[in-house]
Symmetry: C2
Subunit: 208 residues, 2 copies
C-alpha cells in the first residue's frame, strides 16, 4: 500500500545554513525531494533559477496570489517569497517526501492548511556564530545584516512552536538528526492505522 | 548542561520479539540502558534472573505494591509483572535513557505518571507470523498459546494510543527505526527550551 508522502517544512534564521543542510538531508535519503520556493528577490551570486529559487517578477507573483496558486507566501525585506501548490502536490501524490525551506509566517500558514506536515526549526549554535556566517557569505549590505539579525531573534522565539528544533553546529550531524526525525515520523499511529488494521483483519481471516 | 534521560516504554504482544529488538537497540546506542521488570512468573528455559526479569515471589511482589515501590504493575496470565521505581530513577538521574518492556496496562499507568515518556508499540508483520514465533519458542503449553493470541489482538487494538508503532519484520530494521525515534525525541521543543533560551540570552549579551 502506497502512502502519501510527507510534507517537511524547514525554517531557521537567514544564514543558519538551511540550504547546505537540506542538500545533505536529500543526499542521505533519496525519497526526499526539494520543492523550490518562488521569490521576487534578486538572485545572489552563485544562486540559480530553478535550483535555489524560482526567481519571478512581482507582477507574476501577485498573479499567483490572486489566482490562489500558493500554499503560503509572505513579504520579507521588501521581497515576496512563496510556495506554489502544484509543485508540492505533484511530489506528494507520487508517494515521495517534500522538503520546503520556509520562514516562520509561511510555516504557520502551512500547518493550518496541512496539519500533518512536519515542521523543523534550525537553530544557530550562538547568535555570534550566525553573525559570522552572514558576514562570511559577504552578499549582504551592512544595513540588511542588522535587519536579518533582528529578524533572526524574532524567528528563534517562534521555534518552540515547531515540531522539532535542531542546532546546526555541524552540517552532517544536523542533517543526520533531520533524517532521523523524518524516519521516525513515518511510524506515528495516524500514519500506521492501515497497517494495524491489516494485521487485525489478517487475524480475523486466519482464526474465525 | 545535562538533561534528564528519556524513559522509553516498549510494548507488543508476547512473541513479537521485544527482547531481541531491545538487545539490538541497546547495541546501537550505548546511552540506552535496560531496566529489568520484576515478575512472579517462573523463568522460562534460558531466562536468567537479573537479565531477563527479576524473578520474585508473590509475597515479595505484594510487599512492593503495598509500600508503593512500583512505577506500574499488572497481573497477566495469573502472574504479576511490574517495574520498581528505584531501578528506573537511578538511570534517568544519571542522564542516561531507560528502556522498559511493559504490557499495555503498565504503559498506560506510566504515561499518567510520566507524561514525557516515549511509548513505542511493536507490531508483528501478521498474526500468522506471531503464532509461528510463539510455536517456535516452544515454551508454551497449547492452552497458553491460545490465551496469548487472544490477548495479542486486544493489545494490538491499543497500539494506536502509543506514540509510535513499528513492525518487527526484521530485527535490525525494527531496532534501527526505534533508534531513530529515540534520537528524534531529544529534539522536541519541550526538551530544547534551555538551548533556545541560551541562544537568545547570548544575543542579549552580545548586542545590547
Amino acid at each position: 500500500m502506497r502512502n502519501k508522502g510527507l510534507l517537511i517544512v524547514l525554517s531557521g534564521p537567514s544564514g543558519v545554513g538551511k540550504d547546505t543542510v537540506i542538500e545533505q538531508v536529500i543526499k542521505n535519503d533519496s525519497s526526499i525531494k526539494r520543492s523550490i520556493s518562488a521569490t521576487t528577490r534578486p538572485a545572489r551570486p552563485g544562486e540559480l533559477n530553478g535550483r535555489d529559487y524560482l526567481f519571478i517578477s512581482e507582477d507574476e507573483f501577485c498573479k499567483n496570489i490572486t489566482e490562489d496558486r500558493l500554499l503560503e507566501y509572505t513579504k520579507y525585506c521588501e521581497n515576496y517569497y512563496g510556495t506554489l501548490k502544484k509543485s508540492v502536490e505533484e511530489i506528494l501524490a507520487d508517494g515521495q517526501n517534500v522538503i520546503l525551506k520556509i520562514e516562520v509566517d509561511g510555516a504557520r500558514q502551512i500547518k493550518e492548511k496541512c496539519p500533518d506536515s512536519l515542521r523543523i526549526f534550525i537553530l544557530p549554535p550562538t547568535m555570534q556564530e550566525l553573525k559570522n556566517r552572514l558576514l562570511n557569505r559577504g552578499s549582504e549590505p551592512y544595513k540588511n545584516l542588522e535587519i536579518r539579525l533582528k529578524r533572526a531573534i524574532e524567528e528563534i522565539k517562534f521555534s518552540l512552536q515547531y515540531d522539532y528544533i535542531v542546532v546546526n553546529d555541524n552540517v552532517d550531524e544536523c542533517a543526520a538528526v533531520i533524517n532521523s526525525i523524518v524516519n521516525a515520523e513515518k511510524f506515528k499511529p495516524f500514519r500506521m492505522k492501515n497497517i494495524v488494521n491489516e494485521v487485525l483483519n489478517d487475524e480475523k481471516n486466519t482464526y474465525r
